[in-house]
Every structure is written in C-alpha cells, then in structure tokens.
Amino acid sequence: MSAKKTENTVVVRKVVRRKMNFAERTYIPEFAKGLAVTMRQFFKNSQPNVEKRDTFTRMYPEEKTVYPDRYRGHHRLMLRDDGQVRCVACMCCSTVCPANCIHITAAEHDDISIEKYPSVFVIDELRCIMCGLCVDACPCDAIRMDSGEHIQPFGERGEAFLNRDLLMSKGSLSMAVQGGENG
C-alpha cells in the first residue's frame, strides 16, 4: 500500500426518468398491451404455414433441417456395382485423420481383381471432428460425408463405433471408375 491516499474519482451520474402519466401508473392498460403482443406472436407462430411464422427454432426431429449441399454429415462407405464395398483398405484416410478415429483391418479378397478389402472398418464418431480430410484423402471415392444426415446422439459409448456394414448401408454407387479409366 502506498502511503499517500488517492483522491476518490468516482463520477455519479443521475438518470432522469420520464414521468409516467396516470393511466400508466395504474399498469392496467399497459398490462393489456403486453398481453396483446404475446397473444399476437402466439397465434402467428402456431399457424400451420411454417414459412409465415416468426420463429428461429425448429421442432426437431419432426421438422427436418435443410443442410447446405456441402454439409459434412454422417460418414458413408460407397459401393461397387455389385454392392460390395469400394474401399480397398489403403489406409490413407486413417493415416490422415487428425482425430485418429478410423480403424481398418485389411484382408485378402477371394476375387483376385479386388485383391484387398477392409474386413473391419470402424469410425469412432464421437472422436471424429468432422474435418472431412478422410474424404479428401481417399483415392477410390470410397468414403464420403455427403449423406446429409448429422450424427444422432448416442446413448452409450459403444454405439458411437460405426462399423462397416452400417456405413455401407448409407452408401451408393460412385461415378468414378474403379482402378482408373485405362485399368
């Protein structure tokens, strides 16, 4: 503490309030006005036409959100023409993944022209940071995040491990030619 006392420099500002008239002081008409605003909003926002409402919140999940085209949603594994998994277990995605959440076990395929496929492909969605790098890294257009669905809440930790078959169930065919155009 310094020996010298500093001067008190607090400035007190006076707020000049508007004088209320008699009607205002009884509160009754003002109260009715307020209720009117509330009721107007109530009826406006409960009308069947969603577009005409004033609300910013949505009745999720009955009412679906429209996501932008490039929204990175639930992962999916794309399929070959015959419905088998497109992925060749090159592990580019699991290598690039900054969250380290893709686990792949490669295996030898009976079909010699496929040669290698993932016998295990698990994404730990709770660890995933939705960066989309796995999609960029894939040389085979085998993994995508364009399902338009966001990840649903999980009740248990184990449910967040999305396995290959579940990811494939959201999959579809790809335009890319597997093995390259001259393959």
Binding site: C90, C92, A106, E108, E115, P139, N182
Partner: protein, 517 residues
C-alpha cells in the same frame, strides 16, 4: 585410379568403378532399378542413362566404367528426356494400384515418378492384364502387372542363393517372372527378393496387407535367430513388431537375412508373461523382489546348493549383472548353460548355434566354467540342487531330456525363473519374473565371429516386464548388494574388461551405410 568429372565434381576412383557408384561417391544420385550393389549388372532397365562427353549415345551408368578424363552429365536435357521416356515406358502397362500395393511408400517407381517424371499418362489404350497375387513360393506372392522386369529377383536366386528357381517367360509386354517347371521359390532366403524388388511385384506373404509402411517406425536391431546376428531394421507400429528387414552390414550379413530369422519377430509377442507370479498368484515387483530376496538370503545363509542357469540369449549387459549376481549375491559357482538347442548351419548366413550371444557370454564370464545342462538334470535328479535360478525358459536339450527335467523339478526346493514367455516351465516355477525381449531394451550381442553389435530399444516393455539385468539388480538391492550402475553405458564400459590379452575380436560396432542400393 581414374579421374573423372561428374556434374562438375572432380572425383578419383579405382579403375573398374561404374559411373553410378562414382557419382554416388561424388554426391550425385542416379536413379536405377535393375542395378543392385550385391548383384551383377545386366543394364536392362535403362533408368540410369547418363551423358558422357564424346560418346554418341547415352550410356547406362550402372555398367559403364569410369575411364580417365571422362566428363559425365547426369542432369542434362538429353538425360532428363531419356529418364521421362523410360518411366513412361515402364508405366505403359503398370497398373498403378498403389492403394492396394504393399510397396507404396517404399516404392522406387513411385519415388522416381515424383522425382523425375510427374507427367500425365498419354496412354489411351487398354493395359495388358497379367497374373495377380500368384503364389510364386510359400512365402512370396508375385504380381505380374506391377513387375518392371528388372530381373533383380532372378539374379538373387542365381548369384546369392545359387538355387536358380526364377526366370522370365514370354516376350515383350507379355513377359513375366516365373519359376522353372516343377520348382517353387522356396529357398531359405526367398523373402529377400521382396526387399530387393524395387516395386510391389514381389511381396512377403507374412507382411502382406498387415499395415502400411509409412505407419512403421524403424529401429536398428539385431536378429536373434542364430549366432550370425544379422543386422536388421525392426519395423514396429504401436508397440508391436510388424516385420524384420535386413540392414546392410558388409561384415555380417551383407544385404540379406534368412526366412526363419525374418519370421522370428513373432516370438516377441507370443505367450508373454505379463506380471510377476509367486506360487501361482500375480504379484507386483515390490512384493516379488522382497519375497525372492528373503528366500535367497535364507538359502545363502543356510549354505544350500544354488544352481544358476545362464542364458546365451541374454545381452552382454544383462550377463554382466548376472555374473556379479552369482559372484556377490548368490556366492555360487555352479553355473549351467541355458539357451536354445543347436540347429543346422547352411553354409551361408544361418549358423548351427541358435543363441545370438554365446561369444558375448564367454567374453563377459571370462574364465568361469559352465556345466552342460544335462549335468543339471542329473544333479536335480540326485537331489543335489536345492535352489534353481534360471534365466530364460529355453533349454538346450531334446524333448525327452526336457520332459525329464520337468519331472525332476519337484526335487528342487525353490525354482525361480526369469522369462519373457509363459509356458510349462513358468507354471512349475515358484517365482516367475517377466523379462523383456531384445526389442524392449538396448544392449549388445557378440556374434559367432566375435563382432559386438549394439541393438536399440524399439518400444516400451510389455506390461510389467523388466530387463534381465534390472530384475537382478532389484533383487540384489533387497539383499543389500548395490551393483552401482547408473545407466547402460556404465555397464558397457566394464563388461568386456578382460585384463590380458585384449579382446581383438570384440571390435566396436562396424557399420557403413550402403552408398547405393
């Protein structure tokens, strides 16, 4: 001697040196596929073409010898054009299935494409289809489409193993590598062809699709399969060894290693003992050291017969501690020889002695006499051994004698076993102590030739395992003997301290990196 100027660098080399080697000495890399320093040069891939002043055509540098006053350009316009042409030619029928190919990441074609080519494919026709995933031998898989026909594999089988199983069949764009009729690529060194194959045409069945090479961490180590002690790269991922790869050492194994040694990495993880066990119950190290120390103290005070089995599988560092442990703690001189039973030598790398460190053990224990293991069995049978302390769970005897040994063990009052693995022996022991494998510690092995070779720790010990020397040091401390070593290098300084004559054969680690591979 011949003097030449390569890319402006003046260099003097022995007569007969190829331009490629001379350029490597001068610090200029020349790309090459078919040339391998340990094999002959057929000059068939043409990747190594260089311009030599005064010569009308480009010369293959792997084959052309340096002559006096030669002026060589390795990066001239003509050379670059030729390199691009060669790569484009190779890639005509190459499938470029890198996502599937195990070689991706250590592939010469990938590397050279990035370094010397990087042009888009101009090919608009269908590629030749050839054999895929063909079992060319029990340990090796061949992919005809990826093969660039450099013939390194053929020359390896002709010149190194001299078994000559492989040849080229067909001509032109249908040419492929095959075994001669009735043969299969099943010599004892067959997996070496996967190391020298510059592309992913030959892959090891064991390593196939296991992981990707860019995920591996490589540690310089030594193979423990036999007393040759081949230098290896121990490639591991997430605390697990994935493969062994030979590491060049001209004095020991050159560029090679045998198949059984290569697959011996599996022993590192099989049936590991994970925690100390006292009479069937798991314990922690504090408890087990105190318990063992108490029992051993009583045994020493009562002047019981204590037998100690020394393992030539252990490193010199651990063996020095073991020597001091027997001298200063157990005060016993009944030392017996453990380790693995002898196998067969094959005249090339594989030695009959399956223990990596017998010479090291002899050097550390100097003039101490070891009794053979069979004597131990006899002595246990005639109840002459009260306490048995064993390093490692290998016994250098045949199956019958081993069974005899196991039966006789009930005669022993106290059996302490220090081992990395679980098994019948650890079940019969009163106390079993989990020890590290050589991948989990650093140390020194001395091979059959007397060359001391250092190996490095690759990953952390599995669960509760400790290095052999560390276990003995902890027990000794509980028995009031402090060996006084603070770190490994202090042990290394004293372990070969033999007064006279100096150990000429125990040379320092001798290694040179290959200048060109």
């Amino acid at each position: 001697m011949a003097k030449a100027i390569i890319d402006g660098t003046e260099i003097e080399v022995d007569k007969g040196t190829s331009i490629l080697r001379a350029a490597a000495d001068a610090g200029h890399e020349i790309p090459h596929f078919c040339y391998h320093p340990a094999l002959s040069s057929p000059a068939n891939c043409r990747m190594c073409l260089v311009e030599v002043e005064g010569m009308p055509k480009l010369m293959p540098s792997c084959y052309t010898q340096v002559s006096d006053n030669m002026v060589v350009h390795t990066k001239s316009e003509r050379v670059i054009k030729a390199q691009k042409a060669v790569l484009e030619f190779i890639l005509i029928n190459h499938p470029v299935d890198c996502p599937i190919c195990d070689q991706a990441g250590e592939c010469k074609l990938q590397d050279y494409y990035i370094d010397y080519d990087t042009q888009d494919s101009r090919l608009r026709s269908q590629k030749q289809n050839k054999v895929k995933a063909h079992a060319i031998g029990p340990e090796v898989v061949y992919d005809g489409e990826r093969c660039i026909l450099c013939t390194r594999c053929i020359r390896f089988c002709e010149e190194v193993t001299e078994t000559a199983e492989l040849t080229v069949v067909e001509r032109g764009d249908r040419a492929e590598i095959r075994t001669f009729p009735g043969k299969s690529l099943d010599n004892d060194y067959s997996v070496c062809v996967t190391d020298i194959c510059p592309v992913g045409a030959l892959t090891a069945r064991d390593f196939r699709f296991k992981t990707r090479v860019w995920l591996l961490t490589s540690t310089e180590s030594v193979c423990t399969g036999c007393s040759q002690g081949c230098n290896i790269h121990l490639d591991h991922f997430r605390n697990e060894a994935q493969r062994y790869r030979p590491r060049f050492n001209a004095e020991v194994n050159d560029y090679w290693m045998c198949d059984s040694g290569r697959l011996s990495y599996k022993e590192l993880h099989a049936d590991r003992l994970l925690a100390p066990v006292i009479n069937g119950a798991e314990a922690n190290w504090y408890e087990v050291c105190r318990n063992t120390a108490n029992k051993l103290t009583k045994a020493v005070e009562a002047e019981k017969n204590i037998a100690f089995v020394v393992s030539p599988q252990a490193s010199c560092e651990d063996l020095l501690i073991a020597k001091r442990f027997t001298d200063e703690v157990l005060k016993t001189d009944s030392l017996y020889l453990g380790g693995k039973a002898a196998g067969k030598a094959d005249g090339f790398l594989r030695q009959a002695d399956n223990n990596p460190n017998r010479r090291g053990m002899e050097a550390v224990f100097q003039d101490r006499a070891f009794k053979p293991f069979s004597d131990l069995i006899e002595e246990i049978k005639s109840q002459k051994v009260d306490v048995l302390y064993m390093m490692g769970s290998h016994v250098p005897v045949d199956a019958d004698s081993r069974a005899e040994f196991l039966n006789a063990l009930s005669n022993v009052e106290l059996f302490i076993l220090q081992t990395p693995t679980q098994g019948d022996l650890s079940e019969m022991s009163n106390i079993s102590l989990p020890s590290c494998t050589h991948a989990e510690k650093s140390g020194t092995f001395v091979n059959f030739d007397g060359i001391a070779q250092v190996f490095q720790q690759a990953f952390a010990p599995k669960d509760g395992a400790l290095a052999d020397g560390e276990i003995l040091t902890r027990i000794a401390k509980r028995m009031d003997v402090d060996f006084g070593y603070k770190n490994l290098s202090e042990i290394q300084d004293t372990m070969f301290n033999i007064p006279e004559p100096p150990p000429a054969e125990v040379a320092e680690e001798t290694q040179t990196e290959p200048s060109a591979e």
